[in-house]
């Protein structure tokens, strides 16, 4: 891992000479000892006396009305304490994802409905004395269905005779009105083009595959207050929607998330079991835990949107893009979840990355009777930049321009309008491409692959680029909050509502606080994950935790520093602005006088300590991070297998807070990206909607032996004034650029352009055979 730092130049990014003492160092993470020792408590680890075990009965039909549910046998089973069906739960239409009233998600779900819309939808829930009894009870529930016609593809869902999956007042099965973006004059642009390319790109259906299956535990106290331990990225959103649907005030719902075993976006949604667990606990008067099986994480989880993209671009001979026209159709599955947000973010992403003044873009999401597509790392941009960056490679070849050079010529630059309608800050993309070209010695590498003799195994190098926003603005106006409290021994407590998915964000926030105040990292303790204690936060998603939550923490810490200096000033007989805090010692600048921070804040004889608390609130607009990925692959022309030999990801993060954690995000994103590009696809039986591979044996994720060496390079080329010390997001970026890099490398190796993912060995082999036939 390499970090290239260069002085910041913008006023609000501190002065260029600033020496960092905590930020930029890979301190030991605050959550890591509990993780490596097994002492950390995940939501499924909470021990509650009298615990009952909840289980959900799921439909084995994709689209049907429930005519009757007979639960009498289940209720009669010894050890069963409660059974709930649609007749027993509040019928309140709610948002599928708990961003209340946000334009990013739909309001089309009930806790349980009298109708099922996909194979695997929950129809009833049981609470019993043991997991085994609960499972047995599920088998005793008899559901009588009246089948409805079902559609499993977007094409079928759009046919005139297709059943209406939701009656939302829109054209046939549209989740929301189409996302339309038009700028300039595309017709004129195409008329000016020397080369026009038009292709269709087909996108598979990967799943997040987080290691911790969804789980929650619920307990009501004697005063009618609910405590829920849940594996969620959005504790406050869960609180809000649970309170509203259950009909209790917000202060009677307490959501606790301590450690969490990954989410990758999908655990932003509120799932059926979270409502049902609360209701079962209320009905039985006992705590209840509901935990998904691995299979249920597929059936009842959230997938990335599959779909098709038709992309047409015009190019001048010098590589200038004259027009871009795209039609994006995504499969939303049976409920809308994040479809509006994913479609909007993915579609608008095509206004940028590579400059183009004339764009005509339209994105749609369509309901089908398949598992729900939701938020998943990359949020629509994985899909649209896959199409865009594959076509760039094709254009480069047709124009006789090096593919990296074509990208450089068109790369988004400072001041350009970003997809969010803001001016882009800095030349981050250009910096990433140039650094990567040097690192891999691109010209020599490509010359070597071009010159390789014919053989069974053929190598290729490819490039892929991306930019991604930190924060969901303008879809959601977000907010991060932090409270920083100075304790009377000079230590500090940070209270943050940000969620800890496993990224190390709480450590980064603690580093920011230590840096801002001028105390050692070890002097900061971070308190997280309890909605009764920490300030409100919108949740961990949109690559914004360090950017937004970190900035809020920085603002709160700056206020604490201000108050501390105010206390110290009379003791040091100097004006507060003449004072600086370093390593917990307050110095008078330019004079040989100092006092320890502890001495300033500790109680004096007969006197209480000063109450020093800083509150930070931050509502960001948006910043963009950039990346260029370079991948080398080897294609076995006898088996069709594609091995990724090495990846060189170059990312611009503005300012890196914790290098190891940032690199870990990048390397993990690449793992997931290699997965969806080469092997991962959640397959639905197109005759009945049944899931065909809901397990880790049949759904193929890259494992230790599949992962290539990754040479991670982090740049601080374009710090953003909106982030703490210039820092921007990193979570989603790495999963976007790797797919195009690999696919373009495959072309370099064997001369076949695949325009879909995943690219399986079978398809590679078939394509090679077809090419051979053609040549013969």
């Amino acid at each position: 891992m390499t970090i290239h730092q260069k002085p910041h130049t913008q006023d609000n990014l501190e002065d260029g000479k600033r020496q960092f003492s905590v930020v930029g160092k890979s301190v030991r993470r605050t959550d890591t000892f509990e993780k490596v020792t097994g002492l950390g408590k995940y939501s499924g680890d909470i021990e509650l006396p009298g615990l009952l075990y909840g289980k959900m009965k799921r439909s084995d039909i994709a689209h049907a009305l429930i005519k009757n549910i007979d639960v009498s046998k289940a209720l009669a089973l010894k050890g069963v304490k409660a059974v709930l069906t649609h007749r027993d739960v509040p019928r309140i239409l709610h948002y599928g994802s708990p961003h209340p009233r946000s334009a990013s998600c739909t309001r089309d779900q009930y806790i349980l409905d009298d109708r099922v819309r996909y194979w695997g939808e929950g129809v009833a829930a049981v609470a019993a004395e043991s997991e085994e009894i609960a499972e047995e009870a599920l088998r005793l529930i008899h559901v009588e269905y009246e089948p409805l016609p079902a559609v499993f593809t977007v094409a079928d869902a759009l046919k005139p005779e297709a059943p209406l999956i939701h009656d939302n007042g829109l054209d046939k099965n549209n989740v929301m009105p189409p996302v339309v973006i038009r700028r300039g004059d595309v017709e004129k642009g195409f008329a000016e083009a020397d080369l026009i390319l038009e292709n269709e790109y087909v996108l598979g259906r990967p799943v997040p595959g987080y290691m911790e299956p969804n789980v929650c535990a619920c307990q009501w106290d004697g005063n009618g207050k609910l405590t829920i331990w849940s594996s969620t990225q959005t504790a406050f959103m869960v609180r809000g929607i649970l309170a509203e649907v259950l009909g209790v005030p917000y202060n009677k719902v307490r959501v606790i998330v301590d450690h969490m075993g990954g989410g990758f976006g999908a655990k932003q949604d509120l799932f059926q079991h979270e409502f049902l667990c609360a209701l079962l606990a209320r009905q039985t008067g006992r705590p209840v835990r509901m935990e998904f099986t691995r299979k249920e994480t597929f059936l009842g989880g959230r997938t990335r949107h599959s779909g098709k993209i038709r992309l047409k671009q015009g190019f001048k001979a010098d590589g200038t893009i004259t027009a871009r026209h795209a039609r994006i159709v995504l499969d939303g599955g049976a409920y809308g979840s994040h479809s509006p947000g994913v479609t909007t973010v993915g579609t608008s992403a095509l206004t940028s990355l590579y400059r183009c003044e004339n764009v005509d873009l339209e994105g749609r999401a369509i309901y089908t009777n398949t598992p729900i597509a939701g938020a998943f790392r990359g949020y629509g941009v994985v899909q649209t930049y896959f199409a865009l960056d594959l076509q760039m490679d094709e254009a480069a070849e047709r124009l006789g321009i090096d593919p990296a050079e074509l990208r450089l010529r068109n790369a988004v630059r400072t001041g350009d309008l970003a997809p969010s309608d803001h001016p882009v800050v800095g030349h981050g993309l250009e910096a990433c491409i140039r650094r990567g070209l040097d690192e891999v010695d691109w010209k020599a590498a490509r010359a070597a692959t071009a010159a390789q003799p014919g053989g069974v195994k053929r190598r290729g190098w490819g490039i892929g680029c991306e930019m991604h926003g930190s924060s969901a603005y303008p879809g959601i106006k977000e907010q991060g909050n932090a409270i920083v409290k100075m304790n009377e021994d000079g230590t500090v407590t940070l209270l943050t509502g940000t969620a800890g998915l496993g990224t190390g964000a709480h450590t980064a926030l603690s580093q920011i606080v230590a840096e801002e105040i001028g105390i050692p990292f070890s002097a900061v303790q971070v308190v997280t994950g309890d909605t009764d204690i920490v300030p409100w936060d919108i949740g961990a998603f949109a690559s914004h935790t360090t950017y937004m939550g970190g900035r809020a923490a920085q603002i709160a810490a700056a206020e604490v520093r201000r108050q501390v200096l105010e206390q110290a000033a009379p003791l040091l007989e100097a004006a507060p602005e003449k004072l600086a805090i370093r390593e917990g010692i307050i110095h008078v600048e330019g004079a040989n006088r100092s006092i320890s921070l502890k001495e300033v804040v500790s109680p004096k004889r007969g006197m209480p300590a000063a109450q020093i608390v800083g509150v930070g609130t931050y509502s960001p607009t948006k910043s963009y991070s950039f990346a260029a990925h370079f991948a080398e692959v080897e294609v076995d022309t006898e088996t069709g297998e594609v091995a990724v030999l090495q990846v060189v990801p170059v990312h611009d993060l503005g300012k890196v807070i914790h290098p190891i954690a940032a690199a870990g995000q990048i390397e993990g994103g690449i793992q997931q990206g290699i997965g969806h590009t080469l092997s991962e696809d959640y397959v639905i039986d197109l005759t009945n909607g049944r899931s065909l591979n809901p397990s880790f044996v049949d759904y193929k994720m890259p494992l230790s032996m599949d992962m290539p060496p990754i040479r991670t390079i982090i740049l601080e080329a374009a710090p953003d004034p909106g982030g703490p010390f210039g820092a921007k997001g990193v979570g989603e970026d790495p999963i976007i650029a790797i797919g195009p890099a690999i696919t373009n490398a495959i072309y370099d190796a064997i001369g076949i352009r695949f325009r879909h993912y995943p690219i399986t060995p079978e398809q590679v082999l078939n394509a090679l055979r077809a090419k051979q036939k053609e040549a013969a």
Binding site: M211, E212, G261, Q671, F696, L703
Partner: protein
């Protein structure tokens, strides 16, 4: 009908009354109150529940609790010496960023311990082979492999498992 089973877990002999159909994983987590061992799939696909049983790594979801009668079991909770006193492998996972969400971590650490006991000087590909049955979805494995190799290096310098 519950059955009494005795086993030695992390050096302590315990006796538990368990249903005969319950897996060792569920027994450890429920009756044993040792929730550090994780359930990622419950069918032997992911390795999150790896423990060391009589010296060999096993997926504890594929072993019945009653099969552990008389066995010696090592779990993640038994590895560190106390607060702030991590086991060598744990220390390396912390320092190298080998744990992100942490859900696969206990299983991978136990698998690493089994590997290093057998082969204190593994190559990178031997490390990757050893943890091939342990799914991690966060790290891309790079920092996990770094951590294991660093632990092996310290073993060669005289530290012990």
């Amino acid at each position: 009908m519950k059955r009494l089973v005795s086993m030695t877990v992390n050096g302590e002999e315990i006796e538990l009354a368990i249903p005969p159909y319950r897996t060792l994983l569920d027994v450890l987590r429920n009756e044993g109150r040792l929730t550090g061992t994780k359930k990622g799939c419950d069918v032997g696909d992911c390795g999150a529940c790896t423990v060391i049983m009589d010296g060999s790594p096993v997926n504890s979801c594929l072993v019945l609790g009653i099969e552990a009668e008389g066995a010696t079991i090592e779990t993640i909770e038994g590895q560190h010496a106390g607060p702030d006193l991590p086991h060598l492998i744990q220390e390396k996972f912390m320092d190298h960023g080998g744990a992100q969400c942490g859900f696969c971590t206990p299983g991978i650490i136990m698998m690493t311990k089994a590997l290093l006991k057998e082969n204190p000087n593994p190559t990178e590909s031997e490390v990757r082979f050893a943890i091939a049955g342990n799914i991690c979805r966060c790290t891309g494995y790079a920092k996990i492999v770094d951590a294991v190799l660093a632990a092996a290096e310290d073993l060669r310098k005289g530290r012990t498992l």
